[in-house]
């Protein structure tokens, strides 16, 4: 039984090169463990060995074209059975690099790949459905614990041992669903669960509610009277006839329409194509979803300086989080280019 070969990926900081000023470092490799790799090796035990550590600056990994492929090439040279990336904790760029690297290692090298992040890491939403992400604490204070969890996950996946639930094995829910027929009816299971819950005994929900990552709110608009704001809606408001075919659900795009010359949205010219609620009231008066008339009035009164010339619109009907985030990123480029300082976002 030969030893399992593991490659460990780290960023510039955890590999000991340096902090932010070295985030532009290109990919490199050292044999054996580096820095926290020792804790990982300990967690892996004797059956697996970290044969090499690959590391790269977070900025390089995120910004350079082909960066991930270059890192992957270094990983691949070592013919590993397992890639363990990070843990990235709450560090966004590190998390995105780890996530993308693991996905490609799975797809292109066909090996087990595992990483670790704190639930607030933006990499979680983007990668949890594609790669097993160990749930870690927010900072390196949780390092040894994170290494234990990542090691356990990786070894189980390698041995093709079926994983327990995300709660039991401490990874981020991947969204994978397994359907089966239980021994007992839902009613009996529910009564049993309720009895346990009422008596203070431990119980396990069959289906954990999602926990959403928290974001740092933006600072407020400093001087509204001299600020430009934009109107954005996920209520599916489009010109009558939906000329650009915005979808009623699972929107694949967002659109913008000129409103610079308009004082309000007339029902003869606008409608909502949102499939998730009764749009009768909005179609009778589209200002009910995109309150242009009120905004114009307040603009005239000087509450704010300027309303952006375009209405940004999409359908927020069960849009998956990664899609919504992409829309936001794209819109943000435009909003910034137009000196928009604040957004009013309306939805159902």
């Amino acid at each position: 039984m030969s030893t399992i070969r593991v490659v460990h990926y780290l960023n510039q900081f955890f590999s000991g090169i340096g902090a932010e000023e070295h985030a532009g470092l290109g990919p490199a490799k050292k044999l054996g463990v580096v820095g926290p790799g020792m804790a990982l090796q300990q967690a892996l035990g004797e059956g697996a060995q970290i044969v090499a550590t690959v590391y790269c600056g977070d900025n390089y990994a995120n910004e350079q074209a082909n960066a991930i492929d270059a890192i992957l090439a270094l990983v691949s040279e070592e013919r590993p059975d397992i890639l363990i990336a990070g843990p990235a904790f709450a560090s966004g760029r590190y998390g995105l690099a780890c996530g993308e690297l693991c996905v490609r290692a799975q797809d292109r090298l066909g090996i087990v790949a595992v990483t670790g992040m704190h639930p607030d890491n933006p990499g979680v939403d983007l990668y949890r459905t594609k790669v097993h992400i160990a749930r870690t604490r927010e900072s390196a204070a949780g390092m040894s614990d994170a290494m234990k969890v990542m090691a356990q996950l990786a070894l189980k996946l390698y041995a093709r041992v079926p994983l327990g639930t995300p709660q039991e094995e401490r990874y981020m829910p991947t969204g994978r669903r397994v359907h089966f027929v239980a021994e007992q009816s839902a009613a009996l299971r529910a009564v049993d669960m309720l009895v346990k819950k009422m008596s203070g005994q431990p119980y396990a929900t069959e289906w954990p509610v999602p926990s959403y990552s928290q974001v740092e709110p933006a600072p407020p608009v400093q001087d509204l009277t001299h600020a430009k704001i934009a109107l954005v809606t996920t209520g599916g408001v489009v010109p009558r006839g939906n000329p650009d075919r915005l979808e009623a659900a699972y929107a694949s795009k967002w659109l913008k329409y000129p409103i610079g010359e308009l004082n309000d949205l007339k029902p003869s010219d606008w409608q909502s194509i949102h499939g998730g609620f009764d749009t009768t009231n909005v179609n009778a008066d589209p200002n009910r979803m995109a309150p242009l008339d009120a905004l114009r009035e307040l603009e005239r009164e000087g509450a704010f300086q300027d309303l952006a010339d375009e209405l940004y619109t999409t359908t927020g009907n069960t849009a998956a989080i990664p899609t919504a985030r992409r829309f936001a990123q794209e819109m943000l480029k435009e909003l910034r280019a137009n000196d928009v300082q604040g957004v009013i976002l309306t939805s159902a």
């Binding site: 669903r177 239980a182 009895v195 819950k197 954990p208 509610v209 009764d278 069960t318 998956a320």
Partner: protein
């Protein structure tokens, strides 16, 4: 309130000259059933099919399912407000034909909304495991409407969920017809002795046992004959449901049959006096696009649980657009009052990125999952289709192979508690 339910366990059904039960066989007088139904001018015709488990039959456009029951003693009668006077039921003795269901089979009529209307019942094959009525001996009533009721083929529905007045009126008629037939079939046993009798009574309990209420988020059903929203909730004794006080099929995938045999209430009855003190049931429902309506109905439901002295609440929830929020708000309101909650719920996720909740409150930490609404199931071609020429929501040939969602299979997504289908999330 003490109700004795006497069961006649039926193992075979057949047509015959006179309706009756003997030796485990239900004989159905088809002409009498037709006469009963066609006495209502809503119908131009009705076909009566006997459909048995294991047969190579697909029933499409299935709607409600009703268990034959007849009250032999005690106040009122079964299906109050429809077949009997609308006075409170749940006491005395009621007979039931175990293993039998009367099925309402009807193509959508003009003006009827067809969102989530598809309900397919395969009596054999891979689809059969998803619907309990693949295991019952079914008397399927296939209705043909009186065409003069629907003067124009396309009409605008006033009520987005219910459809036009004409469609609502017609649907009430098909519901009533099934209830009449179900009562008629069970009535044949009025003077006979049941195979066994079960007693349902919420007897006094040891005070140490935790008090538990069932909070049932219903949807536009008929209660004592009234189609009514319940914005302030209402209290019912579980026995009232066993006598058919709550009837009618709706998109929450529920059927009358599984309120007559409501498994959540039956399990609470089983546990009553042992691990819980089952104190009663709260029905609640409102059409709530407005925030204030949601706050009102959920708060009222929790208040009724509180007035019952509940320390725990078992919620039968609706995970659909509007209503999911009301279910979750009710949970939050209960937990705020110190009432511990458990929820029976359907996963409506579309793909791995979608956690499957329209809305989720962190207080909903004890959920029993009844499976996934959009799970794909392939049904093989079938020898025989009952219920029309076309499916309600697709142009596919109903006799052919069909790939459907779990929600398209008759009552497969009901949260009334009977199902063993489940989903786990990895």
């Amino acid at each position: 309130m003490r109700l004795e339910v006497g069961t006649f366990q039926i193992r075979a059904i057949e047509f015959g000259a006179r309706t009756g039960v003997a030796g485990g066989t239900l004989v159905v007088d088809k002409d009498e059933v037709r006469r009963l139904v066609l006495g209502d001018s809503h119908f131009a015709d009705v076909q009566v099919h006997l459909v048995r488990p294991g047969e190579n039959v697909r029933i499409i456009n299935a709607k409600d399912a009703v268990e034959p029951r007849w009250k032999v003693s005690g106040p009122g009668g079964v299906f109050p407000g429809f077949v009997s006077a609308p006075t409170t039921v749940g006491e005395g003795r009621t007979h039931r034909l175990g293993g039998v269901a009367v099925l309402e089979v009807a193509e959508p009529v003009p003006g009827e909304q067809t969102h989530f209307r598809e309900q397919i019942l395969d009596m054999s094959g891979p689809g059969a495991e998803f619907s309990p009525f693949a295991q019952t001996l079914n008397v399927a009533l296939e209705f043909t409407p009186n065409p003069s009721l629907f003067p124009s083929a396309s009409v605008d529905a006033k009520d987005v969920l219910g459809g036009t007045n004409e469609a609502e009126d017609y649907n009430r008629a098909t519901t009533l017809a099934c209830l009449k037939v179900a009562a008629y079939l069970a009535r044949a046993t009025a003077d006979q002795t049941p195979d066994h009798v079960e007693t349902f009574e919420l007897t006094p309990c040891a005070p140490v046992l935790p008090r538990v209420a069932c909070l049932y988020h219903t949807q536009a059903n008929y209660l004592y004959g009234m189609k009514i929203a319940l914005p302030f909730g209402t209290l019912v004794h579980p026995n009232e449901l066993f006598d058919g006080a709550l009837v009618g099929w709706r998109q929450a995938y529920r059927s009358t049959y599984w309120d007559q045999n409501n498994q959540a209430m039956r399990e609470l009855y089983q546990a009553h006096g042992k691990s819980v003190n089952f104190v009663g049931c709260v029905l609640f429902y409102d059409l709530t696009p407005e925030r204030e309506q949601k706050e009102r109905v959920s708060s009222a439901a929790a208040k009724l649980a509180r007035l019952l002295g509940a320390q725990g609440a078992l919620l039968l929830g609706i995970n659909g657009s509007n209503y999911a929020i009301d279910t979750m708000l009710a949970i939050q309101q209960c937990e705020k009052l110190g009432i511990k909650t458990t929820l029976i719920y359907l996963d409506v996720g579309y793909g791995p990125d979608d956690p499957g909740f329209v809305h989720a409150a962190p207080e909903a930490d004890a959920i029993v999952c009844i499976g996934s609404r959009d799970r794909k199931i392939t049904l093989p071609p079938t020898a025989k289709v009952i219920g029309g020429q076309r499916l309600a929501s697709s142009a596919a040939d109903p006799r052919g192979e069909l790939t459907v969602n779990q929600r398209d299979i008759h009552t497969a997504c009901s949260t009334q508690g009977f199902t063993r289908q489940t989903t786990r999330f990895f």
